[in-house]
Amino acid sequence: MVEREFTHASWAEFLAEGKLMGVRCRACGALSAVPRLVCPACRVEDLEWVELSGRGAVEGFTVIHVPPTPLAAAGYGRDRPYASAVVRLDEGPWITAQLVGVDPQRPESLRVGMRVRAEVVHQGEAVRLGFRPEG
């Protein structure tokens, strides 16, 4: 595995390459879906990048009708809402991301526990993490 700094910039670079990367503590095995320099579980500074399966389940979700300005600029708004979720990955750690391939006009079609799979979403210049329902 290429050694890259444990920073958000590296994480975003991996994502642009199509990989959802997390970090694992070599000492205690704790996994985080976002980079850290110090293990939040055992405080040891001996971490490594690991590729995550990108599969998981929705812990909580929302359909946002009043977006922040970057998403408003991307065309989202009261009449064009989007869904975002907190996802528990199968390896354990949680991550936040937009839900893609869902119908935000029908929030009742979404549910906690729903199985999802990670996907790289290109929004103009930006590369974002998204999750699409499985099956």
């Binding site: 879906a33 909580g60 929302t62 946002i64 009708h65 922040p68 300005t69 989007y82 907190v86 929030p107």
Partner: protein, 419 residues
């Protein structure tokens, strides 16, 4: 481990300005109004020259007003220069944390008399910019980029809570109705109106204009109407959200040994607790705030009291679901039972444990840096029997304030006892 304050600390004065939208008032003006009410509240009067320091809760005057370094300006505006003045920032818990810092400073023996302030002026920015500014209290790298807004964060907690405990989303309407009913009795509230009054006013306006008059049967019908109560971050709708508010509040915090100089009826700070937590993606549960449970445990232990002894609570209801989580995290209701409390009347002014008699952030308004201080101003008024038309009938000798920053990355809890 049970912690104690180094020496006793008391609140001997409290004031709050009117909450709302005030285009002609900036933070210093808002604070000066709260300061005036505080000054009038001190039974034996007080000379501002006695104040040794100002602890000012403020989330983001930088982004809201393009004004940093706010505390010395505010200190100067109320005549405290050259006393120490500092701004305390922990998102929407800034006010509660400013109080805690003041309590710690007095308990340490460093100061005998300090002024605690909280202020935010939010309405100068358009709504989208306010949404962006508040979202910076979450994780900008991993949450903001995922499209989350503040209502969105709490909406995710609401879906998680509903899935875990079987709460129907409409149960949240009861929290809004109860807090608006309380707020209608508070002349400082931004929305001093019941939901029914808001509904009636809209119907009257439609009639005046000669347009079609909506035919809502009752408040529930009104709240279910996506036209009247549109989704902001589903399942949370407009009436689930606290408003964008300008406002300020102030407390005079002193060493217990000098409290009688100011009043025969001081409030003793019996317990204080504060804790932190990871952002949403670093949690183990979305249906409870670990920082709130931890801060409450510290405050109860220091105070030597149990939740069933608390007579009244002001809790952080930035969204309706937040009040449900709060009353459970504080141990006032068992896990999974909090959503029934408002509908059952348990948390109303006449209920077993009145919650948010001020109207809460929901109806009183939520000038984020001021909210935690204003909560304690409400406790002051209720505990001294000075809450006017919203005064609770029972004797309130022990009360609690619960103030949350962000999505629960910060929580601070204070327990006060009438001395």
């Amino acid at each position: 481990m049970k912690r104690k304050l180094g020496r006793g600390v008391a609140v001997v004065g409290a004031g709050v300005g009117k909450f709302g939208a005030f285009p002609r008032h900036d933070s210093r003006d808002l604070f000066a109004q709260a300061f005036r009410e505080l000054r009038a509240s001190v039974d034996r009067g007080f000379d501002p020259a006695e104040v040794e320091a100002l602890y000012l809760g403020n989330y983001s005057s930088d982004l809201f007003e393009h004004q940093g370094h706010l505390a010395p300006i505010v200190a100067s505006w109320v005549g405290l220069t050259p006393r120490a003045a500092l701004r305390v920032e922990d998102a929407c818990a800034s006010g509660g944390v400013a109080l805690r810092q003041a309590v710690l400073a007095v308990a340490s023996g460093l100061y005998d008399v300090v002024l605690v302030g909280g202020v935010e002026r939010m309405t100068a920015l358009p709504t989208e910019a306010v949404t962006d500014t508040l979202a910076t209290a979450g994780d900008v790298l991993y949450e903001f980029s995922a499209g989350f807004t503040f209502p969105g964060f709490y909406a995710a907690m609401a879906t998680a809570y509903a899935a875990k405990y079987g709460m129907p989303y409409e149960a949240l309407f009861a929290v809004a109705r109860k807090n608006h009913a309380h707020g209608a009795l508070n002349d400082k509230a931004q929305f001093g109106m019941t939901i029914r009054a808001i509904m009636d006013r809209r119907m009257a306006k439609a009639r005046e204009k000669g347009g079609p008059v909506p035919s809502w049967e009752d408040e529930l019908d009104f709240l279910r109407d996506p036209g009247a109560n549109p989704p902001v971050a589903w399942p949370l709708r407009l009436f689930d959200c606290s408003p964008i508010t300008d406002g300020a509040a102030a407390l005079l915090v002193v060493a217990e040994k000098v409290a009688r100089r100011y009043t025969d009826r001081p409030l003793r700070v019996l317990g204080t607790g504060q804790a932190s937590d990871a952002c949403l993606y670093g949690r183990a549960d979305l249906a409870s705030l670990r920082a709130a449970r931890e801060a409450a445990a510290q405050a109860y232990a220091m105070a030597g009291v149990t939740p069933d002894q608390i007579k009244l609570a002001e809790v952080h209801d930035c969204f309706t679901i937040a009040e449900v989580l709060a009353i459970e995290d504080l141990g006032l209701f068992p896990p999974g039972q909090g959503w029934r409390a408002a509908a059952d009347g348990a948390t109303s002014r006449e209920g077993r444990i009145p919650v948010n008699t001020s109207g809460g952030l929901k109806a009183k308004g939520h000038p984020v840096g001021a909210s935690g201080v204003a909560q304690v101003v409400e406790l002051w008024k209720q505990m001294r029997g000075e809450a006017g038309p919203r005064q609770v009938a029972r004797d309130v000798d022990l009360a609690l304030a619960h103030n949350v920053g962000g999505t629960g990355q910060t929580c601070v809890v204070h327990i006060l006892e009438r001395g």
